[in-house]
């Protein structure tokens, strides 16, 4: 499973915000330990953190404070790192001598080690409550002081204050996008996935969260709110049990101070503080694990991070009771939540809901009621843009539409329906349809349209429906390695929904591989935005859609091709867009980031050649480039030929960086070829409008209804 050795390359990732107090000390300690790479991710520091990090030679990434997420930001750091081992530290955790060697050793103790972690030692000025707790807590992992390999059934505790991961393990599991406790969730996920983790006492850091009493309480609120979200833990509270627990803990603290010869006066002072600390902890941890019952304003005030996030009321339990090693105060059995794939389980157990009886002539009625079940989304989602453009046009054609957001894990529960609808209208298309976020309100439709594999199963459970259709924008099993998800995604094509496919390639798969009935629609182009703008076209500019967070975009291949191009033609300007953060490349380029459609239209009108790669279905980008008169290069062998033809407006290349570079170079240097492709491209997209796409989709929806009308009675 792992090939890590005592010589494995180590990257260290440190998320930072206003961390100047310990950051210099931490980076000096890392210089002593000698990892191959140090990455600091700053999320809006207003102190000297950035200056300190740059002076220490760390790679500095900056993210907007609003973009920060404990899991999300650490995933970003891991993506940007190159080591076989990826260590994470918090900005106030200073590695002790031998830290890095201990981690390297940890990954050789078992062939399945996915992660390792070490103890947090108190700093000299740490309060006795925290010092005692840290020392006693970490001592429980290794009574004999030797490294311990932990397997399924052992404590799931894991903390990104001081942890290290095998790249293969992180790539397989990645941190969940949680507000808090992404590390605890990873610890549980890792053991379940068959990896092991190592507690190595030598991989120690100096670390203590010493705050004022109120700050401590607020941190506990955040921490237990996160535990509720990640592992489903709910902290119990009662008057008697709280008095009993607090008295016991204060007694421990007093004994601890006695053993360390604290002066009597100090002991008395800390005893009073200890009572406040433990009482407040009990109260705030109980409140944190019930955060969803508090109003958002109060949640924000009780939170150290000022966040009003609330875990869903059913939590996300992943562990058996008592597995959470971090909870010294009477852990409660975790509640078992409704699991992620409940709609699938329902369909597998009960079968699809029966369809309403067909009515003669229903396929030819002028107006239809169409309901679209969509996955949650964020601004800039290409697949959702297609859905909303189609809905807006179907509405203009007189049909009544409704939009149903299926969000079983409540990933976007904070967005209430009116806000979702306003977002659709602002960022995608001017739809009239209402938006519902709860299928409990379902009131029927002529055709229900599933729009992604996860939405097929809830769509199958809906009643009072005459036909079901499936808007297929990509071959989604390809998004996964061999897995349950890949199998269930493939299964959706066999469930009898009428396919409306985004390319002839997809239609062929739907019909021939999966045995379904399907029609094709052509993606539209917004010609008001994407056309040849009156700007001078450069003689040597290549524009590349480098969306590295989408694996099917083959960005590693694209970067290799551009590297080769740069080697051959160093004078060519390379511009990359589509990814918020710049990618490390062996050639210089201009980073545009995530640009607006208007900015992209200008860029495409100025550039010489476009590069947009897709290993699955083609996307809107090549069409938008063509509409601006920009010839582009894509990969052959998948869907592109089915749309553009083998010698159409798009230059198609084999999966080879040198050949890709050759195609780009040909377009840069062969004026006649460039002219031919450019003209062919403009001609190709001329008839590709969203109105036309909506007409095709409408035809397919009527076919879905007609199929029901003509189907043999027993199959209805």
């Amino acid at each position: 499973m792992t090939t890590n050795t005592p010589r494995s390359r180590v990257s260290v990732v440190i998320p930072v915000k206003d961390g100047e107090r310990y950051l210099g000390e931490l980076l000096r300690a890392l210089e002593r330990e000698g990892p191959e790479e140090v990455i600091v991710i700053d999320s809006g520091s207003r102190d000297r953190s950035l200056e300190i990090a740059r002076a220490a030679g760390a790679v500095v990434l900056e993210v907007e404070p609003s973009e920060f997420g404990h899991g999300r930001t650490r995933n970003l750091g891991a993506e940007r790192s190159s080591g076989e081992l990826i260590a994470f530290l918090t900005q106030d955790a200073t590695p002790c001598p031998g830290w890095l060697d201990a981690y390297r050793e940890a990954f050789t103790l078992d062939e399945h080690v996915g992660a390792a972690y070490g103890p947090h030692l108190p700093r000299p000025d740490t309060s006795p409550m925290i010092a005692r707790e840290l020392t006693e807590f970490f001592a429980t992992f290794t009574p004999d002081g030797r490294p311990v390999v932990q397997r399924l059934g052992d404590p799931t505790f894991h903390a990104n204050v001081n942890a290290c991961y095998a790249r293969a393990c992180w790539e397989e599991l990645r941190f969940r996008d949680l507000e808090y406790s992404e590390d605890q969730a990873f610890g549980a996920d890792l053991l379940k996935a068959g990896w092991t983790k190592v507690y190595h006492p030598g991989a120690a850091v100096l670390h203590a969260h010493d705050y004022g009493p109120l700050e401590f309480m607020k941190r506990y609120f955040d921490e237990y709110r996160g535990l509720r979200s990640s592992i489903g833990h709910v902290e119990t509270i009662g008057v008697r049990s709280t008095v009993r627990d607090v008295r016991a803990l204060v007694g421990h603290d007093i004994r601890w101070m006695g053993e360390r010869d604290y002066p009597t006066r100090e002991r008395m002072r800390w005893a009073a503080r200890s009572a406040t600390h433990h009482s407040g902890r009990k109260l705030f941890s109980a409140l944190g694990s019930r955060a969803e019952t508090l109003p958002p304003g109060l949640r924000r005030r009780l939170s150290f991070e000022g966040s009003d996030y609330a875990p869903s009321s059913n939590g996300h339990a992943h562990d058996a009771p008592g597995e959470v090693h971090r909870l010294p105060l009477s852990p409660q059995p975790a509640r078992i939540p409704a699991h992620e794939y409940e709609p699938i389980a329902r369909v597998l157990a009960d079968g699809p809901a029966p369809l309403s009886d067909p009515i003669p002539g229903m396929a030819d009625r002028e107006r239809l009621h169409l309901a679209f079940v969509i996955p949650p989304f964020s601004e800039g989602s290409g697949g959702h843009n297609i859905i909303f453009q189609l809905i807006a046009r179907l509405e203009r054609a007189g049909h009544t539409c409704s939009i149903w957001v299926d969000d079983p894990l409540s990933h976007r529960a904070h967005e209430w329906p009116a806000v979702v609808r306003a977002g659709v209208r602002e960022h995608f298309a001017d739809v009239r349809a209402p938006v519902y976020k709860d299928l409990q309100h379902w009131y029927g439709a002529d055709v229900v349209v599933a729009t992604g594999w996860q939405t097929v199963y809830p769509a199958l459970s809906l009643e009072n429906v005459r036909a079901r259709a499936y808007l297929v924008n990509d071959h989604e099993p390809d998004f996964y390695p061999t897995s349950v998800e890949a199998t269930w995604a493939a299964e959706t094509y066999r469930l009898g929904l009428y396919g409306i496919c985004g390319s002839p390639w997809l239609q062929q798969l739907y019909v021939e591989r999966y045995g379904g009935a399907a029609e094709v629609f052509d993606y539209g182009v917004d010609h008001d935005i994407y056309h040849r703008h009156a700007v001078e076209r450069s003689a040597g500019t290549v524009v590349y859609y480098s969306r590295s967070t989408t694996p099917r975009r083959a960005v590693a291949l694209g970067v290799m091709a551009l590297h080769e191009l740069h080697r051959r033609r160093a004078d060519v300007r390379i511009v990359m867009f589509g990814e918020r953060y710049p990618l490390p490349t062996p050639f210089p380029y201009d980073h545009i980031g995530v640009a607006s459609p208007e900015q992209l239209a200008l860029l495409f009108s100025e550039a010489t050649v476009g590069l947009s790669l897709s290993m699955t279905n083609y996307s809107l980008i090549p069409q938008e480039m063509l509409a601006c008169g920009l010839p582009c290069v894509d990969l052959q062998g998948a869907s592109a030929e089915s749309v553009f033809g083998s010698d159409g407006p798009v230059e198609l290349s084999r999966f080879d960086p040198a050949e890709l570079a050759g195609h780009i170079q040909r377009l840069l240097e062969d004026a006649a070829l460039w002219e031919r492709r450019s003209e062919a491209g403009v001609e190709f997209v001329r008839g590709r409008t969203w109105d036309h796409a909506a007409e095709q989709v409408e035809h397919a929806l009527r076919s879905a209804l007609r199929e029901r009308e003509t189907a043999p009675r027993e199959s209805l």
Partner: protein, 95 residues
């Protein structure tokens, strides 16, 4: 009587009944669609109006059902009466 004696007439009558029912069904379907369209428009319009409530996660009904809200409403009512009387008195004095 004629049913028993005139099978062709019966068939015609049945056919007419089927046609009538089909027409009625189509009319009801159209009516249903119109109701759904109007309901959709109404919900969409209210979602437009409720934007800031949803944005701030304010469920006014739930908020107003809380005991504290009841006490605040009672307090406002109690304050409103003397204020109204005072306003009337001031107006009377000024006139």
């Amino acid at each position: 009587m004629s049913r028993a004696t005139d099978p062709q007439g019966t068939e015609e009558l049945l056919q007419q009944e089927v046609e009538r029912l089909r027409a009625r069904l189509a009319a009801l379907e159209d009516e249903l669609l119109e109701v759904q369209a109007q309901a959709n428009d109404a919900v969409a319009e209210w979602q437009d109006r409720a934007y800031w409530l949803d944005r701030w996660h304010l469920d006014l009904n739930a908020l107003m059902e809380r005991p504290v809200a009841g006490r605040v409403r009672a307090l406002l009512r109690a304050v409103r009466t003397p204020l109204r009387m005072m306003r009337i008195a001031i107006r009377a004095i000024r006139s």
